[in-house]
């Protein structure tokens, strides 16, 4: 018996750009969250274009105490990030969608309450020493 055969897609002229995440759409009753109204308050009116460039693995570190005016979500986030934490982890612990977390973080970055440590991205020529460090780390597992 032979396995099923994959049919290769015809190569595209240019690789398709990944579409940006849809803007958080809370408040219109379209997003089934446990508390849609609350989500609306959290995301406010921040437009898509105003959001900071945040990757799932951008590391966030708190650098100031929460001001008395901080929203509860922001205070929770500031508490979580006393030790460095990826945006993905923030999303997981706060039970908030990634796109909502990026909006929260944009506000906190603007207010200089948190710092973002940008991820190491795959460059045209990957850094060999980085790859070797990862290999070394995996070997210890």
């Amino acid at each position: 018996m032979s396995p099923p055969q994959r049919r290769r897609r015809t190569p595209r002229a240019a690789p398709r750009q990944e579409k940006p995440a849809p803007p958080p759409d809370g408040g219109n009753g379209q997003v089934p969250t446990r508390d849609p109204e609350r989500l609306y308050v959290v995301t406010g009116q921040t437009g898509d274009g105003d959001r900071a460039e945040l990757d799932l693995v951008t590391l966030i570190v708190t650098c100031a105490d929460a001001p008395p005016s901080a929203q509860p979500e922001q205070s929770a986030l500031l508490r979580l990030c006393r030790a460095p934490m990826s945006v993905a982890e923030v999303s997981a612990y706060l039970h908030l969608p990634f796109s909502v977390v990026t909006v929260l973080l944009t506000e906190l970055l603007t207010a200089e309450l948190v710092q973002a440590r940008a991820p190491v991205v795959r460059a045209e020529l990957p850094d060999r020493s980085l790859l070797e460090a990862v290999m070394h780390g995996l070997q210890k597992l």
Partner: protein
């Protein structure tokens, strides 16, 4: 989620905190069709209990306007689980077990763009569920290796037959694995890293 008392948000256990010296993070994505073992692989190598990030997608219904002019929308919550491996005091590696359906990948902006590479898991009982994801990675130019998950009741094809069935070029590494075992999953990640290293050497 109730944020009235933010004190109650449970964070990581103290031993799961990253050291303050951590300055850089890299990621690897684990892809494959429905039920091939992505979550299992993330869990077997992660140093923290795997976590989940969710994203919500709304889709306008097509041609279903009601009398009041409001469109019907369907909302889907898509979950992606991930784990973490500390590499050094400065560097941390994240592993993302992507949703099985590749049409959900765009929900997490930049999921693949910044990734070192990808692992494609295949299950020989249902090889075809991973066809689409392989096509997507090729389109995006994401380097990947293929891990053939060892299900006891799965048909055993010679690797060469699988390579041909998946239409993989010669240089793409293929490896057998048992995603439930940490050592085996680690070896898959090492295979990917060696492949990435060879690409880096060749282009240096």
């Amino acid at each position: 989620m109730d944020f009235k008392s933010s004190e109650t948000v449970p964070g990581p256990r103290t031993e799961d905190h990253l050291p303050h010296t951590t300055t850089a993070a890299v990621k690897i994505v684990i892809v494959g069709g429905f039920g091939v073992g992505k979550t299992t692989m993330v869990g077997s190598v992660s140093e923290i209990r795997p976590l989940t990030t969710e994203e919500t997608m709304t889709q306008a219904g097509i041609g279903v306007d009601d009398d009041y002019g409001s469109e019907t929308k369907t909302a889907t919550t898509v979950a992606m689980d991930f784990g973490r491996i500390s590499i050094t005091d400065q560097l941390v590696l994240y592993l993302f077990g992507t949703p099985g359906q590749e049409r959900f990948w765009f929900l997490w902006n930049g999921l693949f763009e910044g990734a070192l590479g990808a692992v494609v898991l295949v299950d020989t009982r249902r090889l075809e569920v991973s066809f689409d994801v392989i096509g997507r990675l090729e389109e995006r130019g994401v380097p990947f290796v293929v891990a053939v998950n060892d299900f006891p009741d799965g048909p055993r094809y010679p690797m060469d037959d699988l390579r041909e069935a998946l239409d993989l070029s010669e240089e793409i590494p293929m490896v057998k694995c048992d995603a439930r075992r940490r050592a085996s999953s680690r070896d898959v990640l090492m295979t990917l890293m060696r492949f990435l290293h060879s690409i880096a050497m060749a282009s240096a």
